[in-house]
Point group: C2
Chain length 417, copies 2
């Protein structure tokens, strides 16, 4: 059994000036972790020869596997390939397969090909080429003493394609990895400190091969229980038994015991019961509908949404009374309840969630400051409305409103039986 | 003039198992860069004493400023504070200001306070406390020889509050930083290689203090021109003059010459002209409305959206003919054009963009495979529809459809004069 550590090096000035958020590292870590490879460090460096060489040295000292992304583009600032040549002592040669790939992509796109594009097919002569089925830059696999280095493009879907089709299967063939397995719970309505106190006994009684992680996420909390090592059958049994205890201990706040978003958990319940859903959104501006429709297969239960940003859309498309709007204002219990009634009728959905609030930075009043939100959920029998106060920036207020709306919806559907 | 390099260390197993995407580092890099501090490295390590100590040593060797986030929570795996005590040789004491802050937060939330929460107010006795106005964990500023270390919580909006109110102003008072300034262009409809070729002469003629960066972003391209150093008046004049040339060289593909998203650029044009906007979304499920309403002040020009996921919403709320839907299908030129007509009427908007497509993973047919999308934009005089083929996963297909829809909309509004 090999205990294999990996390091991830991401290369690119765009990471260091902060123009790009690095989503690659998280995805790669997840995939490696699932395969039993522990990522012990992640480092980002600029398009700078000295820093790249230093990072390669540093990470090779720590980890058996060093995965590198970025700096393989066709522009002058992309220097990863020459630096890899220098580090591994190779020289650039055209790879026939990679060249064919570049040509076929340009033919398909019907774009003119220039010298720069052809250079994408050059690789150091001492690497194994990893084909790129989603773009022009090939991946490169190097070995030195017992270390493995893999260089991949920074474009997320190209890197993901290579990792899934080639890199991970090769690593799995190469090493005998420890068994690793996770189970995850999503909780709502409970703080991290309080829960940690509540679970203190459980946590202290965990065997050494099992770990509990707290992962706060937009007003919700994810708990992840991981077992690592041991005989797979026995390790799985241990994990399942402990996970059962954990589920019981947290039943009061449980959203779902699968590693899916809350919109996915709601979708599953709706599908099981053959019910449908719609949204009527003012302040969330379509974000709740987006979270719902991000789930594959959501067209089976999601009817649609009326995003009623302007008051005349609230009256015209949702049938909210002009007088009601004038009397109570758009951000009020009366309005969100009327939005639910209107959407149940116009969208023909069994359940509707509605939002109206002030997300900021402008639009607040003394009476209704920025962050004031009304959320209502209902079906044809009943409507429940609740007021919330958030105090963050516009985007976070939108996200928190959406998360809370989905949680209200989940509870309503659960109690509707 | 000081040339100050910074390193960012992010701490937390959640980063290494990939459960959390690190958005903090990008934001911090942006803010530091804007202040004239260059981030030369970013490193993520787990909640592990040895790795944290090693990272502190490594980064302090490289950089004058070491910013640390994460590992300050109240649970057992958060070990940053004791490790900082060990590294700087301090001992934990209760800070009166931080304790008062914890108490006032719990009073406001009307939550019971437990021992763990009070421990949040403990800090090493040899640090300067940075107040946290948005949460319970205080920040800590350490100095050792000529190095500065700042530890902050990993919760993004808490870290951002501290950086803006305290850390950056303190750093600016401490160092005499070089002048730095950026100008950014957003382009659409042009590939990176082709553009690099087109701008080769421009790039080669740049003076050493000016740098051009290519930043691909969902089928669009951001170009960033940076000047660093020199006398501010002269440096700004150089930057502006070169930026003028760059704008001329890229006029054909220019979306906006400000550092704002495409939805912001569209919003500005609409507001200038006193026009309004609506969306009719099938496959994008509200995501375009979300991008539009993420822009502060969008309520001044955005009427709303009909997210017509189900066909009966297309007919009922958008007036798309039942027969038309049967004859051509939901994913067709005829349907998206009818959606535009319906939404212009029902939302009372001057411009409407509509989408219908198959985002995957299911739902594709031989005739209309996954990734097939129709986008239409129009006003009361004219409607233009276009077909697209994407070939990625569901989320990326949604994002690309939304970006392309906004670009079609931008071009339509521009040509409508």
């Amino acid at each position: 059994m090999d205990k294999i550590d990996a390091s991830i090096i991401t290369i690119g000035d765009e990471l260091l000036i902060g123009q790009v958020v690095d989503t690659n590292s998280a995805w790669m870590s997840q995939e490696l972790n699932r395969s039993g490879i522990w990522v012990s460090r992640r480092t980002a460096v600029g398009d700078n020869r000295v820093d790249i060489l230093q990072a390669l040295d540093d990470e090779a000292r720590r980890s058996r596997v060093v995965l590198i992304t970025g700096g393989l583009g066709p522009t002058a600032d992309d220097i990863t390939k020459p630096v890899l040549c220098e580090y591994f002592g190779g020289k650039l040669v055209v790879d026939a397969g990679a060249l064919e790939n570049v040509r076929s992509i340009f033919t398909r796109l019907q774009r003119p090909m220039i010298e720069r594009n052809l250079q994408q097919a050059e690789v150091p002569d001492n690497c194994t080429v990893i084909p790129n089925h989603r773009g022009t830059a090939p991946g490169m696999w190097f070995e030195r003493s017992d270390r493995i280095f893999v260089s991949m493009p920074g474009v997320p879907h190209e890197m993901k394609g290579m990792m899934t089709a080639d890199v991970i299967p090769r690593l799995l063939r190469r090493f005998t990895l420890p068994f690793i397995s996770h189970r995850t719970l999503l909780l709502a309505g409970i703080g991290e400190s309080f829960l940690a106190e509540h679970l203190r006994g459980f946590e202290e009684s965990l065997p050494p091969e099992v770990r509990l992680a707290y992962l706060p996420n937009y007003g919700m909390l994810r708990l992840r229980l991981t077992v690592r090592g041991g005989e797979p059958g026995q390790a799985t049994a241990t994990l399942e038994s402990l996970f059962g205890n954990l589920r019981q201990l947290t039943a009061e706040w449980l959203v779902t015991d699968e590693d899916i978003p809350i919109a996915g958990a709601i979708g599953r319940t709706l599908q099981d019961r053959g019910r449908t859903l719609g949204t009527a959104e003012s302040c969330t501006g379509g974000y709740i509908a987006h979270l719902i429709t991000s789930v594959p297969g959501s067209s089976r239960y999601f009817k649609g949404s009326v995003v009623s940003y302007a008051n005349e859309v609230k009256t015209g498309l949702l049938g909210v009374g002009v007088q009601l709007l004038e009397q109570y204002g758009a951000v009020s219990q009366e309005t969100v309840e009327a939005m639910v009634r209107g959407a149940l009728d116009r969208l023909g959905a069994d359940y509707v969630v509605a939002t109206s609030g002030i997300m900021g930075p402008d639009g607040g009043t003394g009476d209704k400051p920025v962050g004031t939100v009304w959320i209502a959920v209902g079906n044809r029998q009943k409507i429940i409305a609740q007021k919330f106060s958030f105090r963050f920036d516009r985007l976070r207020n939108i996200e928190l409103t959406a998360t809370n709306a989905l949680n209200q919806l989940r509870k309503f559907i659960a109690s509707a039986g």
